[in-house]
Each structure stands twice: as C-alpha cells, then as structure tokens.
Amino acid sequence: MSVAVVAPNEPPIVGIVVDETAPARSAVIAAIEAAGARFELWTPATAIARGAAAEAVVFDLAASSLERLLPVAAVLDGDPRTRWKPRVFVVDEDVPASRLASFGAGALVPAIASPETFGLAIERALEQAQARRDAHALARSSVDDLRALERTLVAVQQDGATLSHDARVLFGVILGFAANMRDGFAGPITEEQRQHVQNILDASNDAATLLERYASALRRAIPRSSEPAQATAARVATRQHHDLGELVRATVALFHGIASAKQIRLAAEASRALFAWCDPMQVKQALVNLLSNALKFTPAGGRVNVSVRPGPLDPARSAAMARPDVEIVVSDTGPGIPEHERSRVLERGVRLERDLAMPGTGHGLAIVRDVAELHGGLVRIDETPGGGASIALVVPADRRGRSGEQAAVSVSSAPPRAYSVPPSSARST
C-alpha cells in the first residue's frame, strides 16, 4: 500500500487544480493557509503527477474550464493512491447546475461563499484525510497484532505438545517401575503396599490422560489444514462396558476433603452396579467438572448429592434403544441456573454474569457437554427442589442399536444436542 505519509511537522499539501488562464482564488488560498496546510497550484498535468503527495485536492471550476479540469478527477479516481483524497469543488456562478452531478464525491462550495465557508470545507477535507490515515494505521497494526498472536498460539501449541509427550515418557517410567513392584518383580510386597502402589499407578495413568487431553485440546484449538480428521479422531471415546456406580463412588471420594473444608454435605447414591457403554476416563472428567462446579457454587452448610440411575425413557430416543440410558445426576443447593441460561452455560467460554467474580473459565460444562455428545448422550439441567442446580450427564447403557457411534465420529459438525427441560416435566423419581 502506498498511502502518502506526511512527515511530522511538515504542513500537509492541498493541491488546487486550476485553469492556466485563471488565477487561483485568494479566499481558497487563505483558507488552506489558515488550516495550517501548504497549497500547490496544479495544472491538469501536475495534478496527475503530484496527486499522491497531497492531502486533499481543490478544483477551482468555471464554465470555461470544466471540460479541461473535470477529466483530472476521473484520473485521480483511477489511481488507488489518489482515489480517496478528499476533494473540494469551488464552483463559479456560470457553471450550469446540471453539471454538478458529474463532479463525483466531494464538497461543493460556491465561489461567492464566505471565507468561513471555505475554511470549513478545507478543514473537513484535511480531517477526512487524517481519519483515513488513522484507519489505515489501525488496520495495519491490527493485522500485525493478529499475526503475532497466531505465532504465539502456534508456539504454545508446539510447547504443549512437547510437554505432553515428554511428560508421558516420564509417566511411562513411573508406571513401569510401580507396576513391577505391584506384581512382585522387585521382591515380595504386602497387600497394603500393593494397594498403595496401585494408587500411584491409577494417578499416573490419570495424569498422563489429562496431559494427552491438554495436547489434544491444543490441536483442536489451532487446527492444521494438513490433518483434517485428527480434531475429531483425537476425541473419539475408547468405550467399554463400565460400572458407573463404582466410577461415581471412586470419584466422589476424591472430593470429600474439599466438601468438609467448605462444610458441605457430599453424598453419593450409587449402591448398585449400573453399567454404561462409555469411556470411563471421559465420564470421570465430566463428573469431576460437575462436582467442582457444585462445590464451588454451594454455600457452607449446603448439600451436594450425586446419584447414578437408569435414565428416563425419552420418547424421541427410545425407539432405537435396546436398554434405557444411564444418568449421573449432580444436585446442589447453590443458586441454581436460571432456565433461560441453561443452554447457554453449556457453550464454551460462557459464564453467567453473576459468577464472573468467582474463579473459572467457562469450560467445565462445555467439556461435560462434549463428553455427552461423544457418547451419543446429552446433558440435562434441572432445578433441585428448593433452589439449586441439578445437572444430569446421560450416556447410553448399551452399545446395541444405538446411534451413539455415529454421533461420536461426527461431533465436530453436529449441532449441539444438549438441551434442558423445565422442572415440571423432569423425571419421575
């Protein structure tokens, strides 16, 4: 882009296109100088040569000079360097009104106007030029900023991928030695020691999975065009028939410490085995997010309850179902989620205004929704009797005859399947 740049402290130039036979009007010259600019007198030829150097162009028109001067405007229009230069047309009384429309964009000033009117027209033209230059500079720096941001994001992505990889290698070493100890390859081990080592193994596995999720989230955030399929492939759940009762009990156990510190009564109703067709690690992450939210928003003295149960039969979904869904419901006695906000809070990065003072990123519930979608399930938000929020993660109980497989591989293009129902039509339990 070649936008004429005026050096600082150098007065801007205003060109006056004038017929060689007619002297420039002194009122125009006085107005230019009063605006702090410098004037140049241009014949049609110099106007074309010097146009790019000027801030604005004044056409000094009389009936006799119209045919010679107006073509200059057309030439300036055809050059990207001069097309935008603000124009002022000073028009003699003898110019027929019918010709005015052919001048093109610009300010029209009658030659008999007062010096103030000339002054105003010139000032406006100079302001327009300045505004144009400011806008250009802003656009240029915005593009520069965006490019810098993009470079930073790519660097963060690469660092994240390297971190995830290297840490997984180290977790491999931890896991290797711990598993050998567990299995007696490093000498005899008591049952209690074996249990401790198993805890190390479980935590290492979970940590490694979280790291992989982090790297995978970074890959999704900055998709590379050469690998279109990976964004989805990386998220497809590795599923098995898994007992959600056991999963809930084990996960809730991790939160008893936080709950008692906040004087919240945390209970799990998961007495019997209830199998679901799911990726247990993903369901565990979703449950961790739901529990973190519930404990964050529930005031001291409140309750957080987690239950696992067969899901309600949904008329829209039951036809294809071999067995009903299984749902994990986390209910709290916090402020609840207003009905009109329920679908919005499942979107990535969305936080309710009232919660902005609390820590959080607005990703927790979006991840829960992602997990639900990957399983061909859904998230349902209700109200706990008496106020709080009651959020259900619903996943299929059985792999047979389900559309879940399809949902899992096409999630990136599928519309959100999460929905909420009002408390009045909530489940019958």
Binding site: H165, R168, F171, G172, G176, N180, A208, R219, Q230, A234
Partner: protein
C-alpha cells in the same frame, strides 16, 4: 501358551524407560537386549536377528518408523511393536505404513506390554 526364551530387542533413547520391561521379560524367561538409538538397534538386528523389537519413535539418528521399515526389509518375520508417547492419529497411520505389528502408547503398564509381546510371539 506363548513361547519362552525369545530374544527381544528393546529400543528407546530414554535411559530408564526400558528397565521395567527388561526386568519383567527376563523374569519371564526371555532374553533381552537394549539399544538407545535406531542405528545401534539396526546393527543388533543384522547380527542377532531377534524375535521381536519394541521401538520408540522419537530417537536421534533414525526414528522408530524408519527403523521399523528397515527391520521388515531385513526379515519380515521379526515382530515390531511401536511404543511411543506420540498419540495423534497420524502416528498410528505412520506406524501401520512402516509395517509395524502393533502400536502402543506410553505410558503403558509393563504387564500390558508383555501381554502384547507374548501374543505376537505365539504362532497363530
């Protein structure tokens, strides 16, 4: 029943990564050799013709995929397991392109790795 007394070559540039696998495979009656880069591994493959090779991917000199292709050129009967912390779909693809018999991600429970090794050693 899987056969015992097989010769397994373990290749990884991380010094501690192979120890747990070695310990366990030896205890189960297998013979193990270790190498810390692809080139050294290729020398051992040429000379000793192991029954199975466990290959890391990210290594100096020659990466795991290249080593895998070279091993399969020397003797396609030598089993190759790629064991890597690289988890993208593309990595699984490259492993299959290089002729690997199995692709596993780190971290892995050595019990699970040994199970895969013995499955490959068992003539089907």
């Amino acid at each position: 029943m899987s056969r015992t007394g097989a010769h397994i070559l373990l290749v990884d540039d991380h010094p501690k990564a192979l120890e747990p696998f070695e310990m366990r495979l030896k205890a189960l009656g297998h013979r193990t050799t270790t190498a810390h880069n692809g080139e050294v591994a290729m020398g051992i493959v040429e000379r000793d013709r192991p029954d199975l090779v466990v290959l890391d991917v990210t290594m100096p000199e020659m990466n795991g995929y290249q080593a895998c292709r070279a091993i399969k050129r020397i003797d396609p009967k030598i089993g190759v397991i790629i064991l890597t912390a690289k988890t993208e779909a593309a990595d699984r693809f490259w492993a299959s392109q290089s002729g690997a018999d199995d692709f596993l991600n780190k971290p892995i429970d050595p019990a699970a790795l040994v199970q895969r090794i013995e499955a490959l050693l068992t003539p089907s």
